[in-house]
């Protein structure tokens, strides 16, 4: 070290509070007695970064970072909310299967990619019937149950897609069920085996991250949609038992087929999304029947 650098080093140690005893006294004396040391010390002190509160997130930006589960629902309600969502989801899958059972059709088979499942874009099973989609919030349309029974076709199609959600470590493993039966929100309509099928396209996916065994997690999820009704319910129960801090949100959607309501469910390991859509041609048919 040259003398200048040695001076800086001693002043640095003084600034960092690392000088003690004789060394500390010596440096302090030099600062008091020597103008050059005094000037260097004044400059060294200025090298400490001043507090800067000018850079901050706005409250809106912070609210985006926050998780809504805690802000919308107070903690005591979280457990019951979880139960509600879990129960609803089990019912959703059970009703889906029930639709096949009632119509005597074979339940859809999951189409599994033989290639790397994480990189295969999409595979679709054949669809014998197209099915009609109805928005549960459209009470006037749902008033005529007999018309609905005739109009609504059973669910027949299941699409499996696997996709890489992000370029980073998070990978979404998606299973899409084009049509899932779901109970309408209209309280006047009872869901019985003879009730019309309400069709709901949706998907369930798993998120894998870090060191998690990606394929294993993905396969577990796929199992939930295969097998008989009992297996479905059991698998679904297993999935929901692993769910923590679920969030459920609703949004309006406009599709080419018609207006609808989208339901998004998200949690730590699993997520689901679905849309209830009033098909334009369905509305037209009902009007013509009336």
């Amino acid at each position: 070290m040259n003398p200048e650098e040695e001076k800086d080093w001693m002043l640095f140690l003084l600034l960092e509070g690392e000088l003690e005893g004789e060394e500390l006294q010596k440096v302090e004396q030099l600062i008091q007695e020597n103008a050059e040391w005094k000037k260097a010390w004044d400059l060294m002190k200025l090298s400490v970064l001043p507090e800067d509160s000018s850079i901050a997130l706005s409250s809106a930006e912070k609210s985006i970072l926050k998780k809504r589960g805690a802000t919308i629902l107070p903690p005591p309600f979280e457990a019951s909310w979880m139960s509600y969502v879990a129960a609803a989801s089990v019912l959703l899958l059970a009703f889906w299967y029930w639709g096949f059972y009632q119509t005597g059709q074979t339940p859809p088979q999951v189409v599994q990619s033989e290639a790397n499942p994480l990189l295969t874009p999409e595979k679709t099973a054949p669809a014998p019937n197209s099915g009609t989609i109805i928005d549960s919030s459209s009470t006037p349309i749902l008033s005529d149950k007999s018309n609905l029974s005739e109009s609504l076709a059973p669910p027949t199609q299941l699409t499996v897609s696997t996709k890489k959600k992000r370029a980073e470590e998070n990978i979404a493993f998606a299973i899409e069920a084009e049509q899932i039966n779901i109970r309408p929100l209209d309280p006047e309509i009872e869901l019985t085996p003879s009730s019309p099928s309400y069709i709901m396209p949706g998907f369930i996916y798993t998120k894998t991250f870090g060191d998690a065994p990606t394929n294993e997690v993905g396969n577990k999820k796929m199992m939930a949609l295969m097998g008989n009704a009992t297996e479905w319910v059991n698998n679904t129960r297993r999935i929901w038992s692993a769910i923590q801090d679920p969030e459920l949100s609703f949004r309006r959607v406009k599709t080419d087929q018609g207006p609808g309501l989208a339901i998004d469910f998200n949690s730590h390991a699993y997520g689901a999304s679905a849309q209830l859509i009033v098909k334009n041609d369905f509305i037209k048919n009902l009007k013509m029947q009336k």
């Binding site: 650098e5 800086d8 080093w9 640095f12 600034l15 960092e16 000037k39 260097a40 004044d42 400059l43 060294m44 200025l46 090298s47 400490v48 970064l49 001043p50 507090e51 800067d52 509160s53 850079i55 901050a56 997130l57 930006e61 912070k62 985006i64 970072l65 926050k66 998780k67 589960g69 805690a70 802000t71 903690p75 979280e78 998070n170 998120k207 991250f209 870090g210 923590q244 801090d245 730590h268």
Partner: protein, 162 residues
């Protein structure tokens, strides 16, 4: 970590993380993205992160994401070059002390800049900075010394400050 603990972490540490990343990258939008990514990682990993270590965990993740981002963008040299140009052209214009310090910090090599910011803004000791940046304590100390030395020289060039 519960949802409320996570949200509390957002309130407590998001500004500090943004400031650190903003000063490191020189771009607020990029810093905001990195902050969001960091908190998203925290949310995903919340079961494994103890509340008492949230701050250092966030800074560690944020720092790594920032390094990845800089490498991807190949901005390491560019940022330093830009800062170099800015600092060299600052002689003819009036600058306050804060401006000088900001420019001086921006002109530091990434390792020195990170070390001195974590030291001064966040009050981390050498050991914590070493763990966070994946270097040794002695290297952190040298980095901070070099950073202060360069800043001292830059500030010293401005008579107005003295």
């Amino acid at each position: 970590m519960t949802v409320s603990e996570y949200n509390k972490a957002v309130d407590e540490w998001s500004d500090a993380l943004l400031r650190f990343l903003c000063k490191s990258t020189g771009d607020r939008d990029t810093a905001c993205d990195l902050v969001q990514d960091s908190f998203e990682s925290l949310w995903i990993r919340r079961e494994y992160v103890e509340v008492s270590y949230v701050k250092s965990w966030l800074f560690k993740v944020g720092y790594r994401k920032m390094i990845d981002h800089i490498r991807k963008q190949k901005k390491t040299t560019e940022l330093e070059e830009i800062a170099e140009i800015k600092s060299s052209s600052s002689g003819s214009e009036y600058l306050g002390l804060e401006d000088v310090i900001s420019k001086a910090v921006a002109g530091l090599p990434e390792s020195q800049r990170t070390a001195v910011m974590l030291r001064d803004y966040e009050g981390y000791d050498y050991k914590s900075i070493a763990e966070l940046t994946g270097t040794s304590e002695s290297q952190v100390k040298v980095n901070i010394f070099r950073a202060r030395q360069k800043m001292k020289q830059m500030i010293g060039k401005l008579e107005i400050v003295i």
